[in-house]
Subunit: 698 residues, 2 copies
């Protein structure tokens, strides 16, 4: 066995050498400078004529296989000194007509431009070359002279003495420089996304995304026998699918719908006996303008038969661990698990950020006999309570404008008041409440809240349903405010995964609290011990749902599904008052031998944005849409003629024909700024007059 | 290092054993029969309560990891005899109240139902169980008694003596049996796709698809450093994109478009320096009713920078070889390569099926001095010729009704006549032409066509543009007719890959032959030696396009792209007369430092259907649409209310409101057969009255 593989390796090596030799011979025929001419050197013509024998550039693997280059810019090291290399890439900058810094995705390399008379044509060609032009350089790797090393640069010990240069494309003037330290507005980045993606951060983000997904696939397919199945995106509108894009068909009145997730299909695949399904699935959600959402997004969609909650959770823990970037600290499993009830009690939110404490505390007892009117009122109402969070060193670091912003949040987002209590260095309280509280109460308050001198307390009174989310929100705001003033609250390199379980299966409808709606979706199975309540007190039923939370963000959610048609029918018809005929195919499927099954979906964009520390999911998506759903580069969505719409038996609603006409005025599609069409160079460019309105962030 | 990994392995093993022990203890608490009750046994409740410690079912890898089963049905072998196993799956059938054949995706296993009094409850529960019900069986593997082996069954040497059984779901009566030999109409298969997918053929097709794509990803990502990048599907209508679905946005008059391919994005990614991109991309094409097309389909989309034709072709050859199913004969590389001109000359088509000969032959010379009027006329017109194909043993096997069907094809599809000439056993010709031809011409004809006694000649006269495609078509039809009468023409296990290159870059527009249109798309670069013709005689330019053909089907196509803005501008504006402002973002990108680049897209559905020998791409897609674009299972596309459309500022065209109303009449969505809604069992089912009209095949 060992012998056989050794022999194979030797044969491969020999083959590589032969081909490399042929290739370098072939490369030697390059005409040194073909500036402004056609990109591919004449020797390729020769190659083309011998197409039938299918000669390949090289036979090696890796980033430079089958390529016009021999190496990438960023990989050259002192070990390569003496080698003749061919690099292809972009002109980063020129220095003193002597050095050219060349870039490709892998990094930078310094090219030394020969200064002797015989090579003057090289110097002439390169010196006027605008940055970001594309070149091919053949040369020899050499060590930089003593003292000229650049420790900041991965290839800083070497340089390449150019022997020939080919200019593959000349770059015109760009709207911004491709340098990481040059700050650009996000709308400009989006408009010239193909330039923005050249930045090392975006290259890293997209490459990490690719690698992470590849590892996930290996884990699911190769380790656990999952089947990657593609499900349709031209589907049927689901009941209550108000957020679904519609796609007119060629039949009058009929529309496809772009699904928000492959939920129905993944369940049908379980009924079909696929056993283990996954898909990196494109999903669609038309929510208008919501911060940091995208009309199309990606989820890692997973479903298994004959599995329980623990099985799915174990799978996901393994998945995260397996695919976790090697350059980050490894994650440890199992992930901690918390009930919904506990999350709400301690953190005031169903996706707690457990990287820091500042938990909610019930301090009702302290005010049991209080004379303070608003606290007394709060305690007297049904479900009333007084709760607090203690912000360590909050009195020290938070300024009065911070106090105001916290109160503002409480007022505007929750219609509530919040009391700010500072604990002074001597342990005394500073607060309007101070005078109204007896000393014993103050003592008890400090004790219950475990507050020390220098801390700050935020106190809220009201119903539990109101107080918890309010303090949950203020807790996060305090963390941000503290971090803003330089206090380390959350470790930016820490990744705290958490399962949240035992969610309620149904919630009262906002518009009609007597009616119930699904907390997640109508296919979630109840907890076994709550099943009997489904037919008597459905509002008390907890579901077999689980959310995966990372650093306070929901990055995944799933459930064990109802797999019996009768239960599903009851939930849809009796509890949710939905028309079950809209899901007749699913009901019928459940009655055709459906196995018990469950699954999960991970939000890939969100997960990645947290891993790379990006402020927005837009930073891990190659071509994201703006806040208003526009592609600022291509100007989608765009106008379509009435004629084209006729195929689909649709037309613009009355009055919209006029709106359509504005295109003739060159009304900018994304920001209602007028633009002017000018003819520049040899093709059309659009020049925006005035500052472009940024519609990226809300 | 070796020690460290051995220690790790030992630890893993220990952990597995502990967990397995815990798990089998836990399994032993199963109540033997929980028929009709809730699926998950009470012991799971116990598991659920200990969720916080995250106990997993098992810690092993493979198809039964993290599952309620210990093994799959199809994997049991004599080596497992004596083991206690837990199987989960479907009841295939019962035999003599003694044997239960159980199925999962991996195969069948025979369960022996104990006959003793103490286990009577098992027998009672199982004997009335309808086929396709879902059960969990715990039992012990034993050898079948002598002589009871089943050689046809992979698990035919063993059986499982049941100790306990749990009925997880009872199946109602199904529209068809899940047995491979039961033939169903395709519309019935589509309507109950979740049942159809249980067949071993469909399980094989979908699993092979998953594995093939996984191997492709490994090759691209891990071997050649490609980056998997997802590109948007909500995009902007492209010039001439008449086949694009539109998606109304929430802005008056503005529509997204579902792209036919990520062509623009892949090129922009090259400009962005991604260097090597691939994506298993969902694409959309609204072509109405075309045979064996789908409104959404999948392509393996690839683009590389700094590469030439040979590089891309080498990459794809390696890709196919690497991902090729192990159970098929390996494919050898490099693939043969043929110019477009040669393909048309020899095979009359640009995607020749090279599994058999029957090449086109020019026999004009034979009739140089002919007196036969229609042949003389043909030769006298510009570009006129007489060509033939020789069908070996065609005179022997093809009947006169076959001759008629060949003539019919010529007439209806090409408006041409074709002459059928039989070569009799004695070498004499049988044909209306026979009397009109001098003996020398007959001799020459037989010689030129290399025809032997028993062969059949098809002769066509006219312009080359007309004769070649006609004979190309008849060549394929002859192969089918011969195969229909039992002659082996094409080896069904043979896979003939072929590159076709040197296509014309432009073709005359059908509606206006003075105008040119792109043969493939406007981004294809010309051959270097033809570049100068771009500005003088564009109709003579050949493109750097390459098609990958497999067994006479196009399974891929790509090109080296134009990477200079000025060339692209010239092609769009001067040659194609398109408005270049519609592609201004791409033109601008090419002028911002675009590297030379090229790529290819493989049609995954088509490739797979050929590999598995399926008659249609629908057989390698989990949930395909019917010929008319319907999902027969969910009845998509469906009606959407005017109210819902208002969000998108669209409305149904005049008169369509009425059409919409037909839903109230329960008009069947897919076949214009009236349907009746009945309440059956405990939920709604639709019963179709009469035979359902099959709209699957044209």
């Amino acid at each position: 066995m060992a012998n056989k593989s050794r022999a194979l390796a030797q044969r491969m090596l020999l083959l590589c050498r032969q081909e490399t030799k042929a290739y370098s011979l072939w490369r030697r025929t390059t005409i040194p400078i073909a500036c402004q001419g056609h990109l591919i050197k004449p020797s390729i013509m020769h190659l083309r004529f011998s197409l039938n024998v299918n000669k390949h550039s090289t036979c090696t693997t890796g980033s430079s296989s089958l390529s016009l280059r021999s190496h990438t810019c960023g990989e050259l090291r002192p070990a390569d000194v003496g080698d003749e290399v061919t690099l292809c890439g972009w002109v980063q900058y020129l220095r003193q007509d002597l050095f050219l810094i060349m870039r490709d995705f892998s990094g930078l390399a310094q090219i030394l431009i020969p200064q002797d008379e015989a090579k003057l044509h090289l110097k002439t060609a390169l010196c006027d070359l605008p940055p970001e032009s594309v070149i091919k350089v053949k040369g020899t790797v050499r060590l930089r002279p003593d003292g000229q090393d650049n420790k900041e640069m991965a290839t800083g010990e070497i340089e390449v003495l150019a022997e020939s240069v080919e200019i593959l494309n000349v770059c015109r003037k760009l709207p911004f420089e491709i340098k990481d330290f040059v700050k650009k507005s996000e709308s400009l980045r989006m408009q010239y996304r193909y330039l923005d993606l050249r930045s090392s951060q975006m290259q890293y983000n997209l490459r990490l995304r690719s690698q992470l997904v590849m590892k996930m696939r290996e884990y699911l397919c190769n380790v656990h026998g999952f089947v990657d199945v593609e499900t349709p995106t031209l589907f049927k509108r689901t009941p209550g699918g108000a957020k679904e894009f519609v796609v007119p068909s060629r039949e009058p009145g009929r529309f496809y719908s772009l699904p928000q997730s492959p939920q129905q299909f993944k369940q049908l695949l379980m009924v079909a006996g696929i056993d283990r399904y996954f898909q990196v699935a494109r999903c669609y959600r038309d929510e208008g303008s919501k911060p940091d959402r995208q009309p199309e997004f990606t989820q890692v969609d997973i479903e298994m038969s004959f599995v329980d909650q623990a099985g799915i959770r174990g799978l996901i823990e393994g998945l995260v661990q397996y695919s976790w970037p090697v350059e980050k600290d490894p994650v440890s499993t199992p992930f901690p698990c918390m009930t919904y009830e506990k999350a709400m009690k301690d953190y005031g939110v169903d996706k707690p950020d457990t990287r820091f404490a500042m938990k909610l505390m019930d301090i009702s007892k302290t005010f049991h006999n209080t004379e303070i009117e608003f606290l007394k009122d709060a305690l007297n109402q049904p479900g009333g309570c007084i709760q607090a969070i203690c912000v360590p060193d909050g009195a020290k670091h938070l300024k009065s404008k911070d106090h105001e912003s916290l109160k503002q949040t409480a007022r505007t987002q929750f219609g509530q008041e919040v009391s700010v209590v500072l604990v002074k260095a001597d342990g005394a309280l500073k607060s309007p409440l101070n005078r109204l509280m007896p000393a014993s109460a103050k003592q008890q308050l400090l004790q219950m809240a475990q507050a020390r001198p220098g801390d700050l307390l935020l106190i809220s009174a009201g119903t539990q349903e109101c107080v918890r989310p309010l303090l949950g929100k203020l807790r996060l705001q305090c963390a941000e405010l503290l971090e803003g003033s330089g206090v380390a609250v959350r470790d930016p390199s820490a990744f705290h995964f958490l399962w949240v379980v035992d969610f309620p299966l149904f919630l009262p409808k906002e518009e009609d609290p007597d009616q119930l709606e699904s907390a997640h979706h109508p296919f979630t199975a109840p907890l076994l011990e709550d099943t009997h309540l489904l037919y008597s007190q459905p509002h008390k039923v907890r579901g077999q749902h689980y959310d995966l939370v990372l650093n306070g963000c929901e990055v995944g959610g799933g459930s064990i599904r109802i797999h019996k048609a009768s239960d599903q029918q009851h939930v849809l018809e009796t509890i949710l008052k939905e028309d079950p005929s809209l899901l007749s195919h699913l009901l019928e499927a459940l009655d055709s031998g459906a196995p018990p099954h469950g699954g999960i979906a991970l939000g890939l964009d969100r997960l990645l944005s947290i891993i790379v520390g990006a402020p927005s999911i837009r930073d891990v998506i190659a071509f994201p849409k703006s806040f208003r759903g526009h592609d600022l580069m291509s100007r989608a969505p765009d106008f379509v003629s009435e004629d084209e719409l006729k195929t689909y038996y649709t037309s613009l609603s009355t009055g919209q024909q006029e709106a359509k006409g504005t295109r003739r005025n060159r009304h900018c599609c994304c920001c209602y700024t007028f633009v002017l069409k000018l003819r520049l160079d040899s093709y059309y460019r659009w020049i925006y007059i005035g500052e472009m309105q940024d519609d990226i962030v809300p």
